[in-house]
């Protein structure tokens, strides 16, 4: 075998093996590879996509600013705040059993989430 002879005679067989592979590297010219690739390219590059997103965002931003302005002018902020405050309960009673159950559920969820991340399921 020619290639084997080449690297067997070299003082460092590993370098000679790689040199042999390098010198004999095939030219993988394949038009179908390029054609297939060009067909599967996204229609626009990331730069063009970002430009589109920017345009969309500017419209969203204008809408949001108009909305906020109208809310500022037409909504009674004092009553809005007091009604939110009214939603907050004055006291919360948690029984020991409920507390332990809540801790258990949170702990179990954490273990499951950790396991899924480690297992590459997420």
């Amino acid at each position: 075998m020619n290639n084997e002879t080449t690297y067997k005679s070299d003082p460092n067989p590993l370098d000679a093996l790689f040199a042999s592979a390098r010198q004999g590297q095939p030219n993988l010219m394949d038009d179908s590879f390029t054609k297939l690739l060009v067909n599967s390219l996204p229609k626009t590059s990331l730069a063009a996509q970002k430009e589109t997103v920017k345009k969309g965002l500017s419209f969203d931003l204008i809408g949001a600013i108009i909305g906020l302005l109208m809310a500022y002018l037409f909504i009674d902020r004092t009553s809005l705040v007091s009604s939110f405050v009214g939603l907050i309960p004055e006291s919360i009673v948690i029984s020991p059993l409920l507390f332990i159950s809540a801790i258990g559920v949170i702990g179990l969820s954490s273990v499951v989430a950790w396991w899924m991340v480690e297992d590459n399921s997420l």
């Binding site: 067989p13 093996l17 042999s20 993988l28 590879f33 390029t34 996204p42 590459n120």
Partner: protein
């Protein structure tokens, strides 16, 4: 611009055309220039799995096209492309847990190297190099490929792969020992 005209352009001009005018033909020309080397490298990294290597090369070029605007012209396009390719390969390894067992741990792999596949002599060398590299873990495999095959310097490898210089040197020193042992077993 016609495809024939594109073949005369510098890489920087092709990148500029592909980014500013979204010229897919310009990008196709870049693909034509680099696909052979990239596909060969990925074959070396995937234990000469041609179909898988081509899939990874496709993913690499698609990602490169999407990120082309980020390419800094002072860097070599091939280095930038290889960096994307290496990351695509690594993502695949993480997903599919490619076989990275050492020769000691996997006598079957050792036998495969000794026997070699049923192909002509020239392709046999490439496949045996790929089988040898497959005995290394993916990061070390890539370092050794870049060093021994592509003949990149330590600093270039560090830049391409985004790993510290010291890590590159360690990979090369330890990887060479494993490859030498594997080669000795192969040669009997």
């Amino acid at each position: 611009m016609k495809r024939q005209d594109l073949t005369t352009l510098e890489e920087a001009q092709l990148v500029e055309l592909a980014v500013s005018k979204n010229d897919q033909l310009a990008f196709a020309e870049l693909v034509n220039r680099h696909q052979s080397n990239l596909r060969y490298s990925l074959r070396q990294l995937t234990d000469w799995n041609e179909a898988l290597a081509d899939d990874l090369a496709q993913d690499t070029f698609i990602q490169a096209f999407k990120e082309l605007a980020k390419f800094r012209q002072q860097a070599k396009f091939s280095s930038w492309l290889y960096r994307i390719g290496y990351n695509v390969f690594l993502q695949h390894v993480r997903k599919k847990a490619l076989d990275t067992q050492s020769l000691d741990e996997n006598p079957l792999l050792s036998n495969q190297i000794e026997q070699g596949p049923d192909h002509d002599e020239e392709s046999e060398v490439h496949q045996k190099v790929a089988k040898l590299l497959a005995t290394l873990e993916p990061e070390r495999r890539s370092v050794l490929h870049l060093f021994l095959h592509r003949q990149n310097t330590h600093q270039e490898i560090s830049d391409i792969m985004g790993v510290p210089l010291g890590t590159v040197k360690t990979h090369i020193n330890r990887g060479r020992v494993v490859l030498q042992d594997g080669l000795q077993e192969w040669r009997g």
